[in-house]
């Protein structure tokens, strides 16, 4: 057992963990952040995507102790002061989700993409989501959601 010190959704956490525990299991288990989902066993589906120091990471394939001293953002930490993040807003507005199981991972991947490339082309959006699988929507509305979020964020920034 070791102790992990990290920042999760803006709050410092200090939690005892076994060294073999995966980040996703720490989030879903002891930290009770169940918005991060597990949809596969092989790092393919992306439902578990979170941000680690702003980089999108599949939390099923990172050990929790690798997050020592780092800042983790999960879907629960995206809204600020009770207001949804523009990407969350856009997914609702564009019907970018159906069952919602892949959605947290999609939103985190999209948020990471937009933080680095505020005006992505369609091809760049598709490329940015290549690590995330959705079975319901057919992706069209997800791509539209990201495009809409980019426009909203550009407007906010202006």
């Amino acid at each position: 057992m070791t102790t992990l010190h990290a920042t999760v959704n803006g709050k410092p956490v200090e939690v005892p963990i076994e060294p073999q525990v995966l980040l996703v299991d720490l989030l879903r288990g002891p930290l009770r952040l169940t918005g991060t989902h597990v949809g596969c066993d092989t790092t393919q589906c992306g439902a578990c995507t979170v941000l680690v120091d702003g980089e999108s990471v599949k939390s099923c394939t990172m050990l929790a102790i690798q997050a020592e001293g780092r800042a983790i953002t999960t879907i629960e930490g995206l809204a600020q002061d009770g207001a949804m993040h523009p990407v969350q807003e856009a997914f609702i507005a564009c019907h970018g989700l159906q069952c919602g199981f892949c959605t947290p991972g999609m939103i985190m991947a999209a948020t990471c993409l937009l933080s680095k490339n505020p005006k992505p082309s369609e091809a760049q959006i598709v490329h940015g989501l290549e690590g995330n699988i959705c079975r319901c929507t057919g992706y069209v509305n997800i791509v539209e959601s990201v495009r809409t979020a980019a426009a909203a964020m550009a407007k906010e920034a202006a």
Binding site: T42, C45, C99, G100, C102, R135, C136, G138, V140
Partner: protein
């Protein structure tokens, strides 16, 4: 804005934000694996590494001695404890006239494992890690019985026998139609075409794997939390299989469901084991399937091989269809797995065409693979794919425009109601109108110019069409909904149908807004609780036109009932009571009382009224889908460059949701056409596609976008809403539209009729080989 106008913005037909979404985008959904109980234990399955093997011995002693292990179960243990297998009352005969033959599915295989991945033992431990470690220590000796995973080989003499009552491995067989009439039609036909068709096995793959958490509560009831489309079926099956609790002593609760697609329609054998463990150990027991378990043991879709023929007269009028199909239903025939190829598909085999004669010869074959079940479309995609491929083949044979050949055969509006050769009655359908709109939307006549542009890039271009209908309703057309007005300002709708991502709660809420005239935030939709409501569940694109109709009927009844209560409260004649937007008033006065205030004055402080709806018949949505593809001859890679569809879906309650259903469904159909394929090793029966690394799901780059049009001018005549089910329409149309486009491109590239020999999935390799003249052999060898 008045409250009436405000509310009307959210009624049926309006584009609204889904009521499901705020929680889901915030990570606050309540999926079953998000639930945890104090004192919870974890169950892990041991699965057969053999495709067909006798279980000689099970030694659990080492596993039982490991830390945290609470129990180890074998199949024999379950039988000894009185746990029963799942009944399979399959209503079809075998070729010898005897009843359908299959071994029954036990929670854990007691004597013989019949496919790779069948659960043979289970370990329950304090933690998941302990259970996983201990399951590796369960020692099982097997005697390999030899396996067969291909239905053509399974029915050949000498194949391993999977069920002794079916020595030919045929679980059941049906012939439909008139073979002699078909022979005569083929004899006098001016043109005949024949095709070999493979509808390959698919993995439904909702992103949320199967998951359940079961426990016995303080009153001794079994509480089942599960991700499922059919809560009542789960309850009833568990009551039938697990000794102890009656139906009334089982409560099934369903929270958010991360996709179902038919696969989560009712219990799987694993759920029986979980119930038994929870009852035996008196501790909460959780099982969450890993993705590999979904590939190994969740119900699979499709898996049919077909030889089919079409006979036409000199004018292109179809005289007869012949279809011979072997459906691999897996190692156990399930009700859905056998019904789908033997009856549901045949219901739509002649589709929207006025085809007088059919001769269908359909066999459900046992093979050493996971059993099949419902998967989005369930029989209709396979049948429509057959007839739409034949239509294109016939058009090519006759050198006719494929749209024109279809037009010549379409059932005309004046023929409605129309009875097809399977005795199915279509209430409505203006198929030629959909065709004309679809051709216009796709700019059908401008194709040659687009092909020329594509060819300048050194690529091939093809165009495919599918005009079709489908049967909806799941064979269960009755639903009951309770409206419960609460004094705290909410209207609860209590329904037995189930949300699984399709957004059905939003659609129901919109229908309730129509009647009550209150903001949509005042409506709460309560699903997934067998203590509150029971029924067939959500499958077969049935929910809106059955339970949605019941929402409307129950809401109208509630207003009528509450008018009487308001009359009492206001001491006025009932005939003078008016209801507008949440308020009853006495006509011509300023006397009135709010709906919710009125509820608070009643005994029990609420007003609850139930309403039933029974649709008189299935609905028959139909559509014209047109697809264009570009193919790189250097790689065989197929890109969908245009996709247009016009869909006759009757009344639309939630336009956004309907569009999402059709387009999302179409991408699943595209998945079958281009990439998805469950593959077993033919010699060993090992599953070769057991992860998303090997099973190719459509990704965000699958294509550019849709042009989707609804035609709502032809309401369904057999349900109270006029709606037609839309959950599966896109999936059914997309597969033939895409494949027809690829075949068109290959035929135009010089392959001619040979192009029709390609089989799904049309991967780059297969298309590239086809361009070199390399094809798989005939399906029946």
């Amino acid at each position: 804005m008045s409250s009436v106008l405000e509310a009307s913005r959210f009624g049926s037909g309006k584009t609204v934000r889904r009521i499901e979404d705020p929680a889901l985008v915030a990570g606050k959904g309540q999926f079953t694996d998000d639930l945890n109980r104090p004192d919870q234990t974890h169950l892990v399955f041991l699965r057969s590494p053999y495709a067909h093997a006798r279980i000689v011995s099970v030694d659990a002693s080492a596993a039982l001695a490991m830390p945290g292990v609470l129990a180890v179960y074998s199949g024999a243990d379950l039988v000894q404890a009185g746990v029963k297998p799942i009944a399979a009352p399959i209503p079809f005969p075998r070729p010898d006239g005897k009843p359908a033959a299959t071994e029954l599915r036990h929670g854990l295989a007691p004597e013989v494992a019949r496919y790779v991945g069948e659960a043979v033992a289970a370990v329950v431990a304090e933690t998941l890690e302990q259970a996983r470690a201990a399951v590796d220590a369960v020692m099982i000796d097997y005697e390999d019985l030899g396996s067969v995973i291909d239905p053509v080989r399974a029915i050949a003499p000498g194949a391993p026998v999977i069920c002794p009552a079916a020595p030919d491995n045929i679980a059941a067989q049906m012939r439909h139609g008139d073979a002699a009439a078909a022979d005569a039609a083929f004899a006098r036909a001016a043109h005949t075409v024949a095709l070999d068709i493979v509808n390959q096995r698919l993995a439904p793959s909702p992103m949320e794997p199967r998951v359940a958490l079961m426990e016995v509560n303080a009153e001794g009831r079994l509480i089942v939390q599960i991700s499922n489309q059919m809560p009542t079926a789960v309850r009833d099956t568990l009551a039938a299989c697990v000794p102890g609790p009656s139906q009334e002593n089982i409560r099934v609760l369903v929270g958010d469901v991360g996709g179902g697609f038919g696969m989560k329609g009712g219990p799987h054998p694993e759920d029986i084991v979980l119930a038994h463990a929870a009852l035996s150990l008196k501790r909460p027991v959780k099982w969450c399937a890993q993705r590999i378990e979904e590939f190994l043991s969740a119900a699979a879709g499709r898996d049919q091989v077909t030889h089919c023929q079409m006979a036409l007269d000199a004018d292109g009028k179809v005289l007869a269809l012949r279809v011979k199909t072997l459906a691999n239903v897996g190692a156990y025939g399930t009700m859905a797995g056998v019904l789908i190829p033997l009856l549901v598909g045949p219901w739509v085999t002649t589709s929207i065409y006025d085809i007088p004669t059919i001769d269908l010869h359909l066999s459900a074959v046992l093979c050493n693979t996971a059993p099949t079940g419902a998967y989005r479309g369930a029989g209709r995609p396979e049948a429509i794919y057959i007839v739409e491929r034949l239509m294109d083949a016939a058009a090519r044979e006759m050198k006719l425009d494929p749209a024109e050949l279809r037009r010549r055969n379409m059932i005309r509006p004046e023929q409605m109601p129309y009875t097809n050769p399977m005795a199915q009655v279509y209430d409505t359908g203006q198929f030629e109108k959909m065709l004309d709109q679809g051709l216009a939307l796709a700019d059908w006549n401008g194709f040659d110019a687009r092909r020329a542009e594509t060819e300048k890039k050194g690529l091939l271009r093809g165009r495919g069409i599918a005009t079709f209908l489908e049967w909806t309703g799941g064979g269960a057309l009755q639903e009951s909904v309770t409206v419960d007005i609460k004094p705290d300002g909410f209207i609860d709708l209590i329904c037995a149908t189930q949300g699984m991502g399709q957004g059905i709660a939003t659609s129901y809420a919109q229908l309730a807004v129509d009647t009550f005239g209150v903001p949509i935030e005042r409506i709460r939709v309560l699903l997934g609780d067998t203590d509150r409501a029971n029924g067939f569940g959500s499958a077969g694109s049935r929910s809106l036109f059955t339970a949605g109709a019941a929402v409307k009927i129950a809401s109208d009844k509630t207003i009528e009932h509450a008018k009487g209560l308001a009359a009492e409260a206001l001491e006025a004649p009932a005939a003078d009571i008016e209801y507008v937007a949440g308020r009853f008033s006495v006509a011509g006065t300023d006397l009135g009382i709010g709906l919710f205030e009125l509820a608070g004055k009643q005994a029990g402080a609420h007003i609850a009224v139930s309403g039933d709806s029974t649709a008189a018949a299935p609905s028959w949505p139909n559509a014209c889908h047109v697809c264009e593809v570009e193919i790189d001859p250097g790689t065989g890679g197929v890109e969908i460059v245009a996709y247009a569809s016009v869909n006759d879906i009757g009344r639309v309650v939630s336009p956004t949701i309907v569009r999402g259903q059709i387009e999302g469904g179409a991408v699943q159909g595209i998945g079958q056409a281009l990439c998805e394929n469950v593959v077993y090793d033919p010699e060993t029966g090992q599953l070769l596609t057991a992860s998303f690394m090997d099973y190719a799901m459509p990704r965000a780059d699958v294509f550019k976008g849709f042009k989707t049009v609804f035609d709502t001018s032809v309401p369904c005549l057999t349900n109270a809403l006029g709606a037609k089910g839309v959950g599966e329409l896109g999936t059914i149309g997309a597969t033939p539209a895409v494949v027809n486009a690829v075949v068109d491109a290959l035929a135009h590239a010089g392959l001619g009729r040979d192009a029709e020999r390609v089989q799904m999935p049309l991967t780059g390799e297969r298309v590239w080989r086809a361009l070199k003249g390399e094809f798989a052999g005939p399906v029946f060898g």
